[in-house]
């Protein structure tokens, strides 16, 4: 992460969201979110389904237009300038989805090289060399000629992560990336994310894997009904949650045997 030292001199802040509101029709999903993410930091978003985690991630990379508030990426306000090239912004932000969303008509290598070649103009030879290096780093070298439907869910999700990394993003957003996986495939994907965190990648992770969040996060945000109810280091949030709503949520998780 060559950028990190230069950024640290200016500001250590990677992403900041201020007073973010977002509605789908009459239904207000996000009701004023404030959150900041430092460079090299891993922030986990937890909360029940429908609490707004996914929507928040999609607002962060402008996949969903926001109704009011601000999104600031490395000091630049990316939410209120209509002339801003959203494609340029999205190239700095990698996002990985719950349902993988690989391109089914392309083999693994083409899935990874498409965006660097067509969005950044990287020559095919260089893009493929970099893609192969990334695939081998995550144990996917043998799969580069396979089509997505021949891969297991875990392999597909690892390819999706590699595809996002190939754009050399400065920050990664992970949207419940293990929720669609069979239980025995979850670990291989979590290992990849741990390696990313260890390499210093700045990440915002929406997850239902509480144990994983406790291990990997620098900070955990608990969302309920479109608001961040409580925000704390994992040790504190999981062992002595202050807010009554957080306590109730964690009790349900523990009763379900998931923590």
């Amino acid at each position: 992460m060559s950028n990190s030292s230069a950024d640290a001199l200016l500001s250590s802040e990677a992403l900041r969201v201020e007073a973010l509101h977002k509605s789908f029709g009459a239904f207000e999903v996000l009701k004023g979110i404030d959150v900041a993410v430092d460079t090299n930091e891993v922030v986990c978003l937890i909360g029940a389904s429908g609490s707004g985690k996914s929507t928040l991630l999609r607002c962060m990379n402008l996949l969903e237009p926001i109704d009011s508030g601000r999104v600031v990426l490395f000091g630049q306000d990316i939410s209120s300038d209509p002339a801003l090239d959203q494609n340029l912004v999205r190239r700095q932000i990698g996002i990985v989805f719950q349902s993988f969303n690989l391109f089914p008509h392309m083999d693994v290598l083409s899935n990874v090289t498409l965006a660097p070649m067509k969005a950044l103009g990287v020559p095919k030879h260089d893009a493929e060399a970099e893609a192969k290096a990334l695939l081998s780093r995550f144990g996917l070298s043998e799969k580069e000629g396979d089509y997505p439907d021949r891969l297991s869910g875990g392999q597909q999700q690892r390819v999706a992560i590699v595809r996002a990394l190939a754009m050399r993003p400065r920050i990664m957003l992970l949207d419940e990336v293990t929720s669609a996986l069979d239980p025995e495939l979850v670990a291989e994907v979590l290992d990849v994310i741990r390696e990313l965190a260890a390499s210093g990648m700045t990440m915002v992770i929406a997850t239902h894997e509480m144990g994983f969040a406790r291990d990997i996060a620098n900070r955990v945000c608990f969302l309920e009904d479109g608001l961040i109810v409580e925000e704390a280091p994992p040790a504190q949030l999981f062992s002595e949650p202050r807010d009554e709503r957080t306590q109730r949520f964690l009790r349900r998780i523990i009763d379900a045997g998931r923590l």
């Binding site: 989805f97 969303n101 391109f103 008509h105 965006a115 067509k118 950044l120 439907d149 297991s152």
Partner: protein, 293 residues
């Protein structure tokens, strides 16, 4: 996960003309086919007017004469005329694929800037899907020359006919494209855009290839139909196979020339029809294989 997932899928190729089975079923199907053909043959040969029909439609000498024609006496051969059908088909096919795609993309577009174009495209599709192709051919074929414009009004009937085919079929095919574009899940666009690809690049490399794959059988089906409809262009005077057959029939008072034209059209369309079936079967087995993994 499936190491050998194709085992079951390749065995079952979907509905076949002849179900695989024991020898008894083969014997039965052979017998029933023979009986069926015998009954049809009996009806044809025993009908009161059988002799007349056989002479008027299936006369060997007339079929051969109409096939080669007599160019020196101004009598066009059906065999030579079918070349014009093939030419019109090939040119129209390429233009339809392009124009229909443009129309579909315009209709699928969003944003207020494109609003007038969306309206135009919608009206276009409504009109040309609603008006019979034959009328479009008449209107273009007789209307455009009557305008007495430079170049535009001095083309051959085949050109006007091809233009009419393109206008009419593009309206249909644009709807096929639209169905294909809608069949690709929204999450594919989202994944492509989140990688920083522009709207057009995402369409070009991610959405469109998947859409076309989904609609290939439907597209080919429309083109089989287009091959036949080139015969309609004869009504404005283009000497294509049907028109050549018609000229022969009215000169000699024998309709065997129409049988020649029919056989030539069959020779053109059957390979495309079989190819379409092949694609559908392949797509089906691939989807089955995908479901097993």
């Amino acid at each position: 996960m499936g190491v050998q997932p194709l085992g079951g899928a390749t065995g079952d190729r979907g509905p076949r003309l002849l179900r695989a089975g024991d020898r008894r079923s083969t014997v039965i199907s052979t017998l029933s086919t023979v009986v069926f053909i015998a009954v049809l043959g009996a009806i044809f040969f025993l009908a009161p007017g059988s002799g007349t029909v056989r002479h008027a439609f299936f006369s060997g000498t007339n079929m051969w004469r109409s096939f080669v024609g007599n160019p020196s006496k101004g009598l066009p051969g059906v065999g030579a005329a079918i070349v014009l059908n093939i030419k019109m088909f090939l040119v129209a096919e390429v233009l339809i694929l392009i124009l229909a795609l443009v129309i579909a993309l315009v209709r699928q577009s969003s944003g207020p800037v494109m609003f007038p174009l969306r309206i135009v495209a919608t009206i276009y599709v409504d009109i040309f899907r609603g008006v019979p192709l034959l009328l479009v051919i008449y209107m273009i074929g007789f209307g455009v020359p009557a305008l007495s414009l430079h170049f535009v009004s001095t083309q051959s009937p085949a050109v006007y006919g091809t233009a009419a085919l393109v206008l009419s079929y593009s309206a249909y095919v644009s709807e096929v494209y639209r169905a294909g574009l809608n069949s690709v899940h929204r999450s594919q666009t989202m994944a492509a855009r989140s990688l920083g690809l522009s709207r057009w690049t995402a369409m070009r490399y991610v959405i469109l290839p998947q859409a076309v794959r989904n609609i290939l059988p439907a597209l080919l089906n429309d083109f089989i139909s287009l091959q036949k409809d080139t015969a309609l262009v004869g009504v404005i005077g283009a000497i294509e196979a049907n028109q050549a057959a018609s000229i022969y029939a009215s000169t000699v008072f024998n309709y065997s020339s129409f049988m020649v034209a029919a056989i030539l059209f069959l020779i053109l369309t059957i390979p495309l029809a079989r190819f379409t079936d092949h694609l559908i079967a392949r797509d089906r087995s691939r989807r089955l294989a995908g479901a097993l993994v």
